[in-house]
């Protein structure tokens, strides 16, 4: 027997509606703020790509994308503005691949009319999916990319056995795939998280708005795991500590010049909520933990930082702490006063919230998608995967990573002129004996 709040949650988790002109979708709770705060730099676009062992056969990709689009109708939408909320309208045309010739995750505006909120780009041996966070998070985008790849190889005559997490392309889309899981798992009475101080931000000027630098470090995952295990921490905890160490070093260097800087250096570590809650949603369903150090407490050695991050993440990234964030985010949007507020007013407050409760709290970010698993028939045909995070004007530089075929691919994405974070991060790994190979989209 379902309790009253569970029934209410189910109603609120529904995102697909109908009227006389057809279907439309509501944005999930994480996405509602994004249209208001997006601009030429903050595109909210992130990218996942696969590099094949052969040049992409365009005709097969076009056919695969057309077929895949029918499996994901909730991604084939455009953004529209309502009086109280933004909503998503189905597109009346099919997506087609674009030539991948510009910088990743840029040159895309949410304000464009009648355009998809994702794009598939192709160049040489690479197929890339760039999604706005309005549609989905990394998990959803990766499921789409995997489905597209499986269909692409099927077009080329290579059948594959679907894994437990793969979607059946011939099945009908399930409503649970586009539910708003934040609302579904909202628990009334759970307290909201306490205030978090504003964090130190990189001082570097930004590059021109049409430039976005990706610096990818490739290294054996075994070597990284050996470093993490020798300290008794997980891979993510270890890498977050390396990143935090780089940020603290930059802040210390700046502080010597007499500049007044915020004392707290804080990392954003996205947490996939699907590991805590039983949902199949491919909309956004991730929150974040914020491991941080206060530089007023003195100098931190690297080993101290690793231990500190380890304990913080164990507490911060737990289900109960995450429930407080759901209580704040989903609870806030349920308030009648908020719902009745015209969108123009909501947009104004969205800017304040984004700066205060969003990127203002963090100095950097590291998103770990984890190990990529592909059907065995396809694994040998894919050379590598890459994951590039969304641009940010405030934190300027961030990192995204995944592991594939025994290698870790850590991609720093940056709008900052300075490359100090990347340099200090990879230098630290190299100094610990991890063989790091670095590729960069822009010459130094």
């Amino acid at each position: 027997m379902k309790q009253g709040h569970e029934k209410h949650n189910e109603r609120r988790a529904r995102t697909r509606f109908h009227d006389e002109t057809g279907a439309y979708y509501l944005l999930d709770n994480a996405a509602i703020i994004m249209p208001a705060v997006s601009d030429r730099r903050n595109t909210f676009l992130f990218r996942m790509s696969a590099t094949l062992d052969h040049p992409v056969v365009l005709s097969a990709l076009v056919a695969a994308l057309k077929r895949t689009a029918t499996r994901f109708p909730y991604f084939m939408v455009r953004l529209k503005r309502g009086f109280f909320w933004y909503f998503l309208l189905p597109m009346d045309r099919e997506p087609v691949p674009e030539y991948d010739d510009g910088p990743p995750n840029l040159g895309f505006s949410l304000k464009r009319r009648n355009e998809f909120l994702f794009r598939v780009r192709v160049s040489g041996r690479r197929i890339a999916c760039e999604f706005t966070h309005i549609l989905s998070d990394g998990t959803g985008c990766f499921v789409f990319l995997k489905t597209l790849l499986r269909q692409y190889f099927r077009e080329l005559g290579v059948e594959s056995t679907p894994g437990p997490d793969d979607l059946d392309i011939d099945a009908e889309p399930d409503p649970s795939e586009y539910e708003d899981a934040y609302h579904r798992f909202y628990k009334p009475g759970v307290p909201t998280p306490g205030p978090v101080p504003q964090a130190f931000h990189l001082d570097s000027p930004l590059m021109p708005p049409d430039r976005y630098r990706v610096t990818c470090g490739i290294m054996p995952v075994e070597a990284l795991l050996a470093q993490a295990k020798s300290r008794g921490v997980s891979l993510t905890e270890f890498l977050v500590a390396v990143y935090l160490d780089a940020l603290v070093a930059i802040r210390t260097s700046l502080a010597r010049t007499g500049r007044k800087l915020r004392p707290v250096v804080c990392m954003e570590v996205p947490v996939n909520m699907r590991k805590f809650y039983p949902t199949r949603t491919l909309r956004n369903f991730s929150l974040f933990a914020l491991p941080s150090v206060d530089t007023r407490l003195g100098t931190w050695t690297f080993d101290e930082l690793v231990e500190h991050v380890h304990h913080q993440l164990r507490i911060e990234a737990g289900e109960r702490r995450m429930a407080t964030q759901i209580a704040r985010n989903a609870g806030g949007s349920r308030m009648l006063a908020v719902r009745l507020m015209p969108l123009v007013v909501k947009d104004f407050f969205a800017h304040l919230l984004f700066e205060r409760l969003g990127e203002g709290m963090m100095s950097g970010m590291l998103s770990n998608l984890g190990p990529v698993v592909m059907p065995p028939e396809l694994a040998g045909r894919i050379e590598r995967f890459d994951f590039v995070g969304a641009p940010s004007k405030i934190i300027k530089t961030g990192a995204s990573m995944l592991t594939w075929n025994g290698n870790a691919y850590i991609s720093f994405h940056s709008m900052a002129v300075s490359r100090d974070v990347e340099r200090l991060f990879f230098s630290r790994l190299a100094s610990l004996g991890v063989p790091v190979r670095v590729e960069c989209s822009m010459e130094a």
Partner: protein, 232 residues
Amino acid sequence: MAICQKCGVEIGEGKGVCPLCGTRIGEAPGEGPQGMFDRAASALPESRAKRLVAAETAGVSFAIAAVSVLIIDLVTDGRVSWSLYPLASLLTAWFLISPPLLWPRKPALFLAIQGLSVFAFLFGLDLIDGSLGWSWRLGVPIAAAAELMAAGAAYMSWRSKRRGLNVLAFALIAVAGFCLALEGFVALYRGGVFRLAWSSITASAVVPVAGFLLYVHYRLTKDATLKKLFHL
């Protein structure tokens, strides 16, 4: 694979420079950029440098033109007379062109400078005539009305998520407003009374058209049903 001596990382085939620190492969670590911040961090972004060059070029070109005009006036008339008009025009042109190049991210600032420079130009022309007369009572109010209406229409169009017939509607409303201001200020200048005649007829014809265009744009668009627009 080559290894950067400074960062300790491996660089891709055919790369002569470390993408992290800029050290040339084969160079000693000390030869690369020093300290915490790399060389690129202190460099001006390319587009900003181009804008500064454009502003400087405009300034130097106008200065050359101004000096030439001044010299011709002095040589032909033996004093500064008619050249004051082209000098005022050149100065105003510089104030219109340079601010967007110097402060492209501060539209409020450069639009304010541009707006004020038009007023200053009108005052200047009036002063060259001998005394302040028409500029204060006629030129400046009309220019202010024109700027205000154009700015209002541009702002509303810029704020629009979807542009189409609504832009035309904003322009029509701005034209109606300008007509009212124009007739009013001319009447005030001539007879001392702000009186409206033809402009009110113009406005009463134009504003309903603009309203209809706005209705068509925002309401009759295919997908904009009330259920969607007002979904709570």
